[in-house]
Amino acid sequence: MEILVCVKRVPDTAENEIEVNKDGTGIETDDLVYSVNEWDNYAVEEAIQIRDDVGGSVTVVSVGDEESEEVVRREMAMGADNGLLLTDDAFEGSDGKGTATLLKAAVEKGNYDLILTGAQADDGAAQVGGMLAAMLDVPYASLVNTIEVLDDKKLKIGREIEGGNQEMSEIELPCVLSIQTGINEPRYVGIRGIRKVASIEIPVYGTGDLGVSADSVGEAGAGVKRLDYYVPELGEGAEMLEGSTEEIVGKLMELLKAKGGIK
């Protein structure tokens, strides 16, 4: 099975305190630690496991700036066979549809049976996989947390739905699936693994290579545009307990007793 996995380089929210920058044009990017989007990492692991099971190849593709090459290479160190980087100044500021347009062009340069994305990324949109499937006119399922290959034309899949229940379906190939975290346990990638793939050439495609018009992607093609960033205000905010640890523990115990938190 020929599998394409779409990955994104994102600020690692587990490693960073995300702060809005002074101009409100974005987040503070100084000293940010970046990594591969967590959901995408599960998607790559799933693709590798399917390939190891039924044969074929795994290609990892990313839309981003040149730095995104590092996450493509990291996923190759996990065991993906090929990498692909879609980068061009004209791609900057793409909305979800713009990103899906670029990925569609990359898909059409190959011959893929299965396309995986993460269920969502840092913008919490959960949109690119569904858009890509619609553009390719192939079936789609989101939030997939189990995949079983039935034959070369069909998969049995589970979607994670509300309450931890699982919706099982059969889906025809080719298809696009968005992958939920917890579907597997992504393997660890060490420095040695990265070194092994350090010299592999990763093809880079721009506007011309993909055959997309520059005004259909990037800022120019974005139907949904971000205007600003600001610090959210939800509700009144917590009363912060201050003082020494001992004082804070004392105050908290009084509150817990009053609210029935200590039996």
């Binding site: 549809k97 309450g163 600001y230």
Partner: protein, 321 residues
Amino acid sequence: MAGQIFTYITFKNGVPDDSALELVTAAKQIAPDASPTAVVVGSGIDALCGEVAASYAEVWKIDNEAFANPNAEVTRKVLMNILPNDGILLLPHDTFGMDLAPGLSIKMESPFVPDTVGFEAVEGSMLKCVRQEYGGAASTHVACDIANGVIINVRPGAFQPDESKAASGQVIDKSADAGDLSTKRVYLETVAAEVGDVDITKEDVLVSIGRGIEDEDNIEIAEDLAKAMGAVVSCSRPIVDAKWLEKSRQVGTSGQTVKPKVYLACGISGSFQHLGGLKGNPFVVAINKNAKAPIFQIADVGIEADILDFLPELTEAIEAL
């Protein structure tokens, strides 16, 4: 300028989801004089449509056995057939809305705004929406031209439900317009979540842990505190993904919905999916070493501390009582 507003009604066991009434409020934030039309797709849904009509002047019913089980792939085709090109469609940003809406926006050639938490007035055909990024750490205004309609996924719980139920609307049967219902994705069954050793939905006090616990071995710290308090340990999604606790311990939309009196959120950042599982207005104490964690915005009391240091101190003090 703007087109007619439609809302997509999700439901379970014949009962409309809370979002059915929240989307009325959302529609009125887009246009104060809006009279949105509800779209209900299902099988044997007359009673359901009647209930929805209490809140909507018009309910479009698409009733077909093909929808006895949810299938966004088929529902998408139906909506393409019945919605006008400049229609504004609001859906809940739940597991069905996420499955359905992005692809629908491509097919309808309308922009898509996911996980929306607020709207500002429409100017001409430009609509400004409020979203959040980075797990709620940053908010952003996004603008889109809705002259060719728009598909908007609205975050569950972001709008107050409109309880007025004064519409006494009419149900219009659109079933005949549904069109081709063939699909390349066939529903098989729904597998119920596994029942765990402890039922966190029945507990009054929860000590809930997230990423801040850092390591499986540290869970003991939370268990010690829970024991001292007479509470039970629950968790957020990453703990279950790491297989450190059972799925039945997870609070959130994809886990359990809990209604405790007191909720200690320990090292939990507070994503909307997590908070979606926390109901009944409990007293929330947030303990997090990141002062900017979104959980501090909804908690009653906050403590900026590393839970690995703080929880043992609290346990010791309670044990000394």
